[in-house]
């Protein structure tokens, strides 16, 4: 049996019917990590003994008739800002390289309770912000579609490891696009859930009011499976929503008839002009939705630069406040990209921050009004395919307005969906966004598109 590119849904079916052993699957992934991660650098810490022990435990439970569900026995990776009991959690930074948590993050505990097998800790941009960096204790992850290319960030190791089939899924976090960016560049599905749906407790923060935890996987269906395990109220997270969690997978009907979609074209045709391949791919995706019975109409919002400025200013000032003590005493222990971005963040005033948070309320209201008669909006997730890893500017996040940040500002569920490939074989993507807590609708639309198009059949050759 070829195990390299199984989805969670495929592997779960085989595991449930005892045609595939979790131990066999885990051993095969460890062998693939050993074979390929020397060129991908997606892991900063592999945990073979713990993974095999968890796989054996899963196998015993399943044989004994205690099958837990579709994550039982599935190898996953954790971005190294998710705290793990007795296992270092570093934020990919020298500053925290000796940090050994005493407990698992809430979401990690939930994934383990669902039976997931943790394979190790994955590369990230430093503290989920500064990267790609070549001056940290571990190298930056490489894109499996072309290892001279950027993975996107900050969930860089998750993007690389899932695309390469080293794990079947992984955790990401998203403060300005850190799930959706690497999902776009690595050809995955990645959803930033509604703010408050997944607990942030036990995850190293970047910016409290914008941080979201969420899943990254090969398909929307796999994201639904993973989100089911990660979502849920946690009193330890003051932003955690105490709401019933829907059955995300059950919502995947394959049907988008009657769905009303607003296409925000100006974000990627004028505000942050995408290249022709990206524009064409998104236009084709919008047309595909129309063919499937959705109603797509173009809408106009405030210029993208205003959304990005609001989000970036809030993100960087909150991050500065978090890291200020170490910035003052250990400035050069941070990587150059992180520390220099933080030095700029320190120049904003308290009044600037308050103005940004006032602007945030206005922008949230604006999107709510625009979506009053819509179920979703759609735009680009990235303006181009993945650039060369050595050609990412130090201040990239300030240089071109982020296409993903608007939906961190609003807290809306937002997802990257692969919608084709360049002539050179690099993934292209679009972004769909739902109303707050309509995560199931976003997953349904992404899944329907994936079923109707051939893109999920293509995998990187390594």
């Amino acid at each position: 049996m070829v195990l390299d590119f199984l989805t969670i849904a495929e592997a779960a079916k085989l595991i449930e019917t005892k045609e595939l052993s979790p131990v066999e699957l885990t051993e095969s992934r460890l062998a693939r990590i050993e074979q390929l991660d020397g060129q991908l650098h997606s892991f900063i810490r592999v945990l073979p003994d713990a993974a095999l022990a968890a796989a054996r435990a899963a196998e015993s439970e399943i044989v004994a008739g205690r099958y837990k569900g579709p994550l039982h026995g599935i190898p996953i990776g954790l971005k190294d800002i998710y705290e793990t009991k007795a296992i270092p959690t570093t934020g990919h930074s020298k500053v925290m390289q000796d940090h050994v948590p005493t407990a698992d993050a809430f979401t990690v505990a939930k994934l383990k309770n669902a039976g997931a097998v943790v394979m190790g800790k994955l590369a990230t941009h430093e503290f989920a912000f500064g990267g790609p960096s070549f001056d940290l204790p571990w190298p930056p992850a490489r894109n499996p579609w072309d290892t001279t290319r950027f993975t996107g960030g900050s969930s860089s190791g998750t993007g690389a490891s899932v695309a390469a089939g080293l794990v079947l899924c992984g955790t990401g976090s998203d403060t300005g696009g850190s799930i959706r960016g690497p999902a776009a560049y690595c050809g995955l599905a990645g959803i930033k859930p509604t703010y408050g749906l997944c607990s942030r407790a036990g995850i190293l923060p970047l910016a409290f009011s914008l941080d979201h935890a969420g899943p990254m996987a090969w398909t929307a269906e796999d994201c639904a499976i993973m989100l089911q395990a990660m979502a849920g109220h946690d009193p330890a997270d003051p932003a955690s929503a105490d709401k019933p969690i829907p059955d995300f997978r059950k919502a995947l009907s394959g049907d988008v008839k009657g769905l009303r979609i607003g296409l925000i074209r100006h974000f990627y045709t004028t505000d942050n002009e995408a290249n022709a391949a990206t524009r064409d791919a998104i236009d084709a995706a919008a047309k595909k939705y129309e063919e499937m019975g959705a109603a797509v109409r173009e809408i106009t919002l405030s210029p993208l630069a205003e959304w990005a400025a609001c989000g970036v200013l809030i993100m960087m000032t909150e991050a500065y406040a978090i890291h200020e003590p170490n910035l003052r005493t250990r400035f050069t222990d941070f990587g150059e990209i992180f520390r220099d971005r933080m030095a700029l963040a320190g120049l904003w005033t308290a009044a600037d921050y308050v103005q940004a948070v006032r602007r945030r309320r206005e922008l949230i209201d604006e999107l709510d009004r625009a979506m009053a008669n819509l179920d979703m909006v759609m735009t680009a997730a990235a303006p181009t395919e993945a650039p060369k890893i050595d050609q990412v500017p130090k201040f990239a996040i300030m240089d071109r307005p982020s296409l993903t940040m608007p939906f961190n500002v609003t807290g809306s569920p937002a997802m990257s969906v692969c919608c084709g490939f360049t002539e050179a074989g690099l993934p292209l993507s679009f972004q769909i966004v739902g109303r707050r807590f309509a995560d199931a609708t976003v997953l349904r639309a992404a899944d329907a598109y994936e079923r109707a198009t051939p893109w999920r059949a293509r995998r990187p050759v390594l």
Binding site: A308, V312, L327, L344, Q355, R361
Partner: protein, 59 residues
């Protein structure tokens, strides 16, 4: 912002930025200033921020 103004600001922040990175930061200040301008709007004095606390009903 001039290099001298940046040096003074970094000193006030207590950040020991290496000399070779300071020139790049001078170039980056334009981004900071532009974003601060973009979030300033002519708005009513009572326009609330997004973080205003709303206590759950009944608690």
């Amino acid at each position: 912002m001039t290099r001298a103004e940046l040096d003074a600001a970094l000193a006030r922040l207590g950040l020991n930025v290496p000399e070779k990175e300071r020139e790049e930061l001078v170039g980056g200040v334009a981004y900071i200033e532009k974003m601060a301008e973009l979030v300033k709007k002519s708005r009513w004095v009572g326009a609330e921020p997004a973080h205003t606390v709303a206590f759950p009903e009944g608690k």
